[in-house]
């Protein structure tokens, strides 16, 4: 078995992407994300008035005019600080996973999707010629991903309207001479560190591609088993990071694999991380890198997030009494909660300050969970101030997204499930909307918005890259208002992202929305899972210590981006075989005189079912097989 890390990703927004080769002869692609943070090298659609005043009405000439202007500026300003004009002024192209295009799409047998973000690049793959892999994703993630992709397509439309019909061939900025003119910061994003990434840029898929992709996807319920080709049994278990996000177990006849994606121990909205179900596997692939940037923060003891050092020591020593599973689980769950609450409280207090000062707040949301939690916390605070500040959610999919969260009790956390069982709504936004404290609009230019508009206000809008959607317009409006506030998530390169809006008077709060998973916890978790082999990203090599003599030893392997790692085959080259008793009774035994050895020649038919080899009497089997292929008429999904 071989593991290739195509891209180690940047965290939640751009999860890592791997290929597992020869898993019982099959090739599995783990996630197919899209690097949306790379959009920051583009310039958003310029404000309309700039061109109307020039008397320019034709879109094509707008582009030409802009191109020339931009070229001149670049030449002039080389060596000076990066300016908004140094960005690429063209229709958006999207950066796919960097090494994926080197693989033949038809050679992939299975695609496993861990989260919504891990699915955004999938339409590029499903429309590729020869692609025929089976794609497995949880039902909730599939639904959310469809919404996200539709949103992306609709936001991208704005660019198409502005720049007109797409030119055939590569866009102008891809030309060698144009690339040379790019500023180094921008160029690095465009061509990658080693200059190999120019080929991964693609114009966005169409709505038809999205629909086509969704039809090729097979959705699974929580912990539902899918059997691929009778050989691999695949099961999703909640990872806690988002509604529908999951970790996968892959059970084959020879080896059981757990793929741990971005996981959160105690979620405030989604089903908790189900690590109990992941225990006892031969191989654990840990691909979550999200805590890495946060770890440095811990060391530098950032003011906004001070971590009680006691917690850490508690966790360190927890590995000693690891038999006490219950206690350990509790300790894994406990610390996150307080910290996340503190962080959100901090965000809320900042929001309040600017609202009180008469400014508006823009929150480019991307994490459904944060949107839902802030929608719960902010109104409570506003009420305490008796401030009449409306909350708007602006996105083409906002209404559907919020409606969807009210009908997935199977994927929300326990306390919210309890709410549902006692007849209350799981999330408070339903109430807010009926009380007209929360307004949901499909676009910034919708007539309903104009009639209800009121400032100051709190707006959740997409997109977090600050290049697409309503956010761009809102930033233009309030960019000069020193009382207004923009809340950005960690992981966005604020310097480049905010360039087109400079000079910016608006306050910007950049913080991590994610509960931090500290290394000792991860260490603890991995020890609990008791794998026979552990595979980690190489960044963790120095940071995690598995040489603790008290723990059971298991080999740890490290993978590197872009390299293929050979995983040792299972220790005994043997597989289990189940022989039907009817057949076993027919076997005629002979024995060797000298040794305690008996033998017989086998007969029958070997089949592969549910990841097990079974030897069945040939004819009887054929009969029962026929009777099982009947189709059943169904209606319910």
């Amino acid at each position: 078995m071989k593991l290739t890390c195509l891209s180690s990703g940047t965290g939640y927004q751009y999860p890592p992407c791997h290929i597992l080769e020869d898993v019982c002869g099959f090739r599995i692609l783990l996630d197919c994300p899209l690097d949306l943070s790379a959009l920051s090298v583009f310039s958003p659609v310029p404000p309309d008035n700039g061109f109307v005043s020039d008397g320019e009405s034709s879109h094509i000439s707008a582009r030409d005019c802009y191109d020339k202007e931009q070229e001149i500026r670049k030449r002039q300003k080389f060596g000076t600080p990066l300016h908004g004009e140094d960005l690429i002024h063209d229709e958006l192209w999207y950066k796919t996973v960097k090494n994926l295009h080197l693989w033949d799409p038809s050679s992939i047998d299975v695609v496993l999707i861990s989260s919504v973000m891990g699915m955004l690049g999938l339409p590029f793959l499903t429309r590729a010629e020869g692609f025929s892999a089976k794609i497995y994703v949880t039902d909730a993630a599939a639904r959310l991903a469809r919404l996200m992709m539709e949103d992306l397509v609709s936001m991208n439309m704005e660019f198409q309207y502005f720049y007109g019909p797409r030119e055939s061939g590569a866009p102008h900025w891809m030309r060698r001479e144009e690339l040379e003119l790019l500023r180094p910061e921008v160029k690095e994003v465009v061509v990658g560190k080693d200059g190999s990434e120019l080929g991964v840029w693609m114009p966005l898929y169409s709505l038809a591609d999205v629909m086509d992709c969704m039809q090729k996807v097979q959705t699974l319920k929580y912990a539902e088993a899918a059997c691929y080709n009778g050989t691999l049994v695949l099961k999703p278990f909640s990872s806690g990071s988002e509604i529908g996000s999951c970790n996968w177990t892959i059970d084959g006849p020879k080896r059981n694999i757990t793929w741990l994606s971005c996981s959160i121990f105690a979620s405030k909205h989604a089903m908790n991380f189900d690590y109990d179900a992941l225990r006892g596997r031969d191989l654990v692939l840990y691909s979550d890198k999200q805590f890495l940037p946060l770890m440095d923060e811990v060391q530098s003891n950032d003011a906004s997030s001070t971590i009680p050092s006691k917690d850490l020591s508690d966790l360190r020593c927890c590995s000693a009494d690891k038999d006490d599973w219950k206690k350990l689980s509790e300790s894994l769950l406990s610390t996150d909660e307080i910290l996340e609450k503190e962080k959100l409280d901090f965000i809320c207090s900042c929001i309040l300050q600017s609202v009180q000062a008469g400014g508006s707040v823009v929150i480019p949301y991307n994490r459904l969970g944060i949107l839902l939690q802030l929608l719960e916390m902010i109104p409570v605070l506003l009420e305490s101030l008796a401030a009449d500040v409306p909350i708007y959610v602006i996105s083409s999919i906002a209404a559907e997204l919020l409606a969807f969260t009210t009908v997935v009790p199977e994927w929300v956390c326990k306390p919210r499930q309890e709410k549902m069982f006692s007849g209350e709504p799981m999330f408070s936004h339903v109430d807010l909307m009926s009380k007209r404290k929360l307004h949901v609009f499909s676009a910034i230019h919708s007539p309903e918005l104009l009639t209800t508009w009121q400032e100051p206000c709190i707006i959740f809008a997409s997109h977090w890259s600050l290049r697409l959607g309503a956010v761009v317009h809102l930033l233009r409006r309030w960019g000069g208002d020193a009382n207004s506030l923009l809340i950005l998530e960690d992981g966005v390169d604020a310097d480049i992202a905010l360039l087109p809006f400079k000079p910016l008077e608006m306050k910007v709060l950049q913080c991590s929305f994610l509960p931090e998973r500290r290394l000792p916890k991860i260490e603890c978790l991995l020890k609990l899972l008791q794998p026979k082999i552990l595979v980690l990203p190489d960044d963790l090599k120095e940071k995690l210590d598995f040489s603790n003599p008290s723990s059971d030893k298991f080999p740890v392997l490290y993978y590197t981006e872009g390299k293929t790692l050979c995983l040792p085959s299972s220790p005994e080259g043997s597989v289990d075989l189940e022989i039907a008793s009817v057949l076993a009774e027919r076997l005629v035994w002979q024995t060797l005189e000298k040794h305690d050895v008996m033998y017989t020649r086998l007969e029958g038919e070997l089949v592969m079912e549910q990841g097990k080899f079974r030897l069945l009497p040939g004819i009887a089997r054929a009969d029962s097989h026929l009777s099982k292929t009947k189709e059943m008429k169904t209606d319910a999904g």
Binding site: A584, E585, M632
Partner: protein, 705 residues
Amino acid sequence: FLGINDPGFLLSRHRPLAISNCPTTSSDDLPLQPLAAGRWLRFLGKLLPVLRWPPQACPFLLLVEIRQSAPAMGIECLVLGAGQEIGKSCVIVTINGMRIMFDCGMHLGHSDEERYPDFSLIDGSLDCVVITHFHLDHIGALPYFTEVVGYNGPIYMTYPTKALAPLMLEDFLRISVGRGVEEKFTAEDISACMKKVTPIDLKQNIQVGKDLQIRAYYAGHVLGAAMVYAKVGDASMVYTGDYNMTPDRHLGAAQIDPLELDLVITESTYATTVRDSKYASERKFLKAVHDCVVAGGKVLIPTFALGRAQELFILLEDYWERMNLKVPIYFSSGLTKQANIYYKTLMSWTNKKIKDTIALQNAFNLKHVVSFDRSQINAPGPCVLFASPGMLSGGLSLEVFKQWAPSEVNLVMLPGHCVAGTIGHKLASGKLTKLYADNNSQIEIRCKNVNLSFSAHTDSKGIMDLLKFLSPKHAMLVHGEKPRMSILKKKIESEMGIKCYDPPNGGLVKIPSATVHVKAQTSDSFAKSCQSPNFSLSRCSTSGAVLSTDLASPLTVTDDRVGEAILFVDGGKARGVHKDELELELIVSGEGKPQVVLFGHCFPIRSKNLTNATGRLGLSGSRSLLKVLALELSHLFPQVDVQNMGDFLQVGSFILSVCTNASCTRRSSEVPGDPSTTCTYFCCSWCMEDEKLALAIISSVRNSL
């Protein structure tokens, strides 16, 4: 070679299922307690003549294995309720030692001890309880069982069942209290009981303990109804609960995967009825309601708050929208309002059509249906009222009925089956003309009434369809009326050729588990060679001439992949290897000394051909036979050297001789056909490198003689 022709051997060494499945060995005979040494020895004594093991193998190993897997192999069903009746569904199933309770219902037709299942019949502890849906005859006894009887193991039910069951139970308790009946559990018991419930999703794999696996499938019937699949070791079964094989207004049809099952326990409410399409009764329903309200009458629809009511809401809402009717539709209880909230959240458990509306408008946001106030009973003008309870068995529905019954423009719509003894039943059968009101004055019943079957149960065709789809090895009927069940039982037994049971309450059914497997290990190359095709083509003709160019003889394709494997039993471990690995395997087991592997085969030839062949040459005896063969073979295989050594023929390492040993170990189990003709056995052996040649020679010998 020393032959052991004892099929029991392998089984006894590795998985003593075969022994414990013997009809003579009930679980009583098996040594379960370590103290009963005498019984151990007696048991050993019984086994010893049957079993043989190599001298080094430890007999205790065998016994320990038996002890572990001995208790009640196969499936045992104890019916505590709904056996040959409808009500208090409760079946205890023991699968390979794991004990599950399916449903824990109460009987609404009884108010005495008979109301609850007789839990005292449960012998030992339960591993889990699974509830299929929220109807009282499936869940009614659960609070009593957990809070009063004291069960505190895991309880599983689907999300909607967990959400809606407390509504049903509390409503039931309220009505009982209203009637002055004391129930065996309280409202606190209900909430305490529901806290212990683990909600599950459809198709979610639940692991209970180490061995038991359960999984729920969509059953239609009511929101959240499930069929439950349970598996322990090799034995598996499905308990259907109540199900519906046709979709209705708000629910889909039952849906299950093809599974390999030992037993299916199915409901049989409509064991003999085949129902018409639902659309006919829907049309009839809408027409009756429409005619009544247009004429200015009031329509009373007595239903229970959950299930049927929501289906009819959607039906009427849709119709009102299309016909642009303004007549108000009321529902009476707060329960229904509450239920509608749950139905909105649990959208994903309805049918696809409703699910797809979620993007635009939740289908359970009803525009025309509003809640009812008691003061509106005598308000003028037409209306439609849904009032609980169903069957006019009391409460508001009866109160309203008494008010509305005297007017002939009004209509009472009974959307389902009414239990004997209720006013609804009397009304439906046309026997009700007068009714005593509270003040002892009589009320003339003049209103119209319509009884329509909107049943959410499957009919007999649906039951047969499901059983045929699952094709289990055994079937069992519960939740039905005795005479109809026995008709269905006969039908199942004759049509499907499987055993079907319909035990009464308290009845015990034992089913041997047939899908057992023996575990062995195999090498990689065995698995690989089995997966790649290994076709061999041969033209076999009955005439005897193998190489004749007779085109009429059928070309047969054989693909004997598994036949290339050898199964070893070495020191208690069974291991399958490919023949190419054989020598290596023997070197390991033979202390490193290289071994020569010989393959052997001993096969019979019927004498008729034989005597013909020898008679032609005027020879007799085995030597003469071999002479004939040698001649034949050298003719057929000119490329090899066939040597006749007198007592045997030799071609390379292939040796063929006439076998006189009746207990020859190389003899295969095939039976020589015609007993009237004597048969001669040929015994051959060869080394691996000559395998192809050997097989060719054997087949040609068989065909030519």
